[in-house]
Symmetry: C3
Amino acid sequence: MSDPSFFKTPRPASLAEIAAWTGAKLVDETRARYMVANVAPLDTAGPEDIAFLDNQKYSGQLATTRAGACLVHPRFSARAPEGVAVLETPEPYRAYATVVGKLYPAALKLEGAYGEKDLVSPRATIHPTAKLEPGVTVEPGAVIGARVEIGQGTIVGANAVIGHDVKIGRNGYIGANSTIIHSLIGNRVILHPGVRLGQDGFGFAMGPKGHQKVPQIGRIIIQDDVEIGANSTIDRGASRDTVIGEGSKIDNLVQIGHNVTVGRHCIIVSQAGVSGSTTLGDFVVIAGQAGLIGHLTVGSGTQIGAQAGVDASLPPGSRVIGSPAQPFMDFAREVAALKRLVKRRKPDVKTADDKGADRDG
Amino acid sequence: MSDPSFFKTPRPASLAEIAAWTGAKLVDETRARYMVANVAPLDTAGPEDIAFLDNQKYSGQLATTRAGACLVHPRFSARAPEGVAVLETPEPYRAYATVVGKLYPAALKLEGAYGEKDLVSPRATIHPTAKLEPGVTVEPGAVIGARVEIGQGTIVGANAVIGHDVKIGRNGYIGANSTIIHSLIGNRVILHPGVRLGQDGFGFAMGPKGHQKVPQIGRIIIQDDVEIGANSTIDRGASRDTVIGEGSKIDNLVQIGHNVTVGRHCIIVSQAGVSGSTTLGDFVVIAGQAGLIGHLTVGSGTQIGAQAGVDASLPPGSRVIGSPAQPFMDFAREVAALKRLVKRRKPDVKTADDKGADRDG
Amino acid sequence: MSDPSFFKTPRPASLAEIAAWTGAKLVDETRARYMVANVAPLDTAGPEDIAFLDNQKYSGQLATTRAGACLVHPRFSARAPEGVAVLETPEPYRAYATVVGKLYPAALKLEGAYGEKDLVSPRATIHPTAKLEPGVTVEPGAVIGARVEIGQGTIVGANAVIGHDVKIGRNGYIGANSTIIHSLIGNRVILHPGVRLGQDGFGFAMGPKGHQKVPQIGRIIIQDDVEIGANSTIDRGASRDTVIGEGSKIDNLVQIGHNVTVGRHCIIVSQAGVSGSTTLGDFVVIAGQAGLIGHLTVGSGTQIGAQAGVDASLPPGSRVIGSPAQPFMDFAREVAALKRLVKRRKPDVKTADDKGADRDG
């Protein structure tokens, strides 16, 4: 739920306004002046709330919701109960995002943890050679190194560390306790707390007498509108750059190795890892806990399933899962074939055994 | 080993005291006044130490231990050598935990890193509107935001960041360099260093022109007696709350997505991940590196094996492993069936080939 | 690419110098006085750069490189174009590492983020009982606890926290925002930003009424020349020590449980995890996202593949992959057998179906 301690309660909005913000079609136009005070999930919403339905899984909740209004795909709108004002849109989740952004501007343009805006805290340490544009917020405990440059509207969170010579664009958010070294960062970039950018890649010339460290002299380039989740780590390049393309979104605890190029508008979900020197095209989606070995090329639009282990380059538009990764359909067939193989051998005692499995397996 | 630098050497305790603390039965009551000075593992313990045997794997060590005393399950007590005073208990590990807690109170109620107790450091930054009960420790470099409230006995570690409006109960431990925003935290909660609580969940309305950020307006609720490991990340809810139930224990580098509910007394082992909007019942155990997709319901008492990939809801008491996850016994059968399948094809050249595998595979 | 903002542009070096540094053989000795100004990858190098070829995958780039010089294995040297001065060496990657280290000494001996050398910042908090040898750098915001000792040449990064009684040797690098408690650390140890050393291991006596915390009274011992990646976590021992052996290199987001012993010169790649009380020999390699359960013994020289799940002890020199892990060759056979099994059932409709998989699978 939203909480007035963390975000100011929004001013109410009429369904006419919401239709205008989102382009959704208010099915019953007589409700245009109906006011909603907040957003809420279908199952907890009341008459003062607007909800949305995007995931089929929750379509049953639509029939019983007490929401005052709901953003829905036209194919579901007939299921809404009488009392719910229906706003039809082909992209309910996107419309919902727009509404929340309008009602909660502070949740869209992230704010600092300390609670003071547009303030360079005297408890921060800023090297005399650093250049901050007007309108930069620096929270207490932040450390900003020599020759750093930061654009207006950017917030540097409490106890974050910005290493010497780093450049950060405008309207960014550098989360508390994060570390950025050897990096050039675009505009509107969001780094959540604990992100580590720019440390040495994992490069060693291995040998029987020990492993010789390979100095890492590349950089990180983070293009505009990138978002990186909490405690994720991205290493700087060995002798070229590590690049995260425009608009790509990276979740928590993700690892990106040195020399990796992530294309534009990629999605990399939590705990996934991309090994060194691998290149992703645009709009690649990597689901949670998947891993890619190094030195691969992954074509644009590829989707990599959860926990997949990708050990070969992939053409554009691939859809793979499994470890080693293979096309979705091949994986499904193997899973099915294996089940048949087991069944053939033990066709009958199944129920009894399964109970045993629950106890001892 | 314990080290007097980190924990004060305990005062010696008699076996009678230990029996009283733990409810264990001292088999040879003539040894009631025997004094032990410390705890130690079976293999390194000497006559002045008390050890324990819990894991069958180490039962061989019991026969040769030089420990002065040992907490053991009655079924193993006959294996102890003559010189070892045996304390029988059905739960030796629990009894051991009790003894260590008595001998090392500072290891049970965690202490700050800096080494000064009950001190609000002048090198911390505390917003003038924050309210700290008497008996709160705030270490150097910690940053505490506007309107924060912290209960007595809680330690805020060095360089930790507590965001505006966060509430923390009594007798908690907020590890160094951790970050807490948008969260309400109960009593006796332990957060190890580098934990990230309350950042935005990973919510985007994906689209061919780029991904629209969905503002995240929920909170995190951490109930009493929860423990969360180093560098773990828990996102705040999108429009409802992310909840971690009473007594649940979460290991290092775990990811919990937005809107997740973890029930009471769950165990989530290192590097596991729970995706958004999934709900766990009580006493669920998730082993290391396992992953759950989003929007699932997992019944109470379920056990999920290491590296499992859970892609469907599970009834209470389930025991699953594999990716995709299936009942333990089914998984074991598939592993066996696959081995037979390979063997059928190549019945003889196996040894030679295996050597090859060790060299080139 | 290297960037003069982050590392000073090196002074040019002659091929004779480079041959002397590395022991490589300059094939055409008339080029001994040829000067190179920098290192670069094969595909982007120009006449002023020296490149190297180590990975067969890139041998095609050798034929078209515009590099002035190249370090290559003798078996590839004939493929170099006329204009490229070839330096032959059996270990081109090691030779390259040596050259980069000579040209970029600041990338080899890591520097602090803030940009001031040999300075104990007045914005750091150092307990009066801590002892720092001359020549220690302490960056702003670092917190150093009671009775800590740090050897000369070591850098303590901005906002790092060194807990009471920790000892750190000489010429080390403690990354920004890292936390070290209950640890004894050798010489030339590199900890990247966000590393967490020495927090409580995950020890609970589980039970139906809740889980009792087992106090953790061991330590961490980090031997000389160890390197640990960003946001990795290593727990201190329960009642013995957690030990990381000399020269071992650990990547980002790795988890090492309590009581683990890692031998000498091991390599543990990103997002791998080693559970409590497992012991690794020397020169063990664990690839990315692999996991080992607890209480195992893994022999020296063992190689564990990416995403492997190791659930049994392994003799020296093992090579395993898969979950559960098995010898490389057995795993390859199972993958092949499963493919044949699927093919047998559906021999013809494959192409059409595969297209379907790409759309809907």
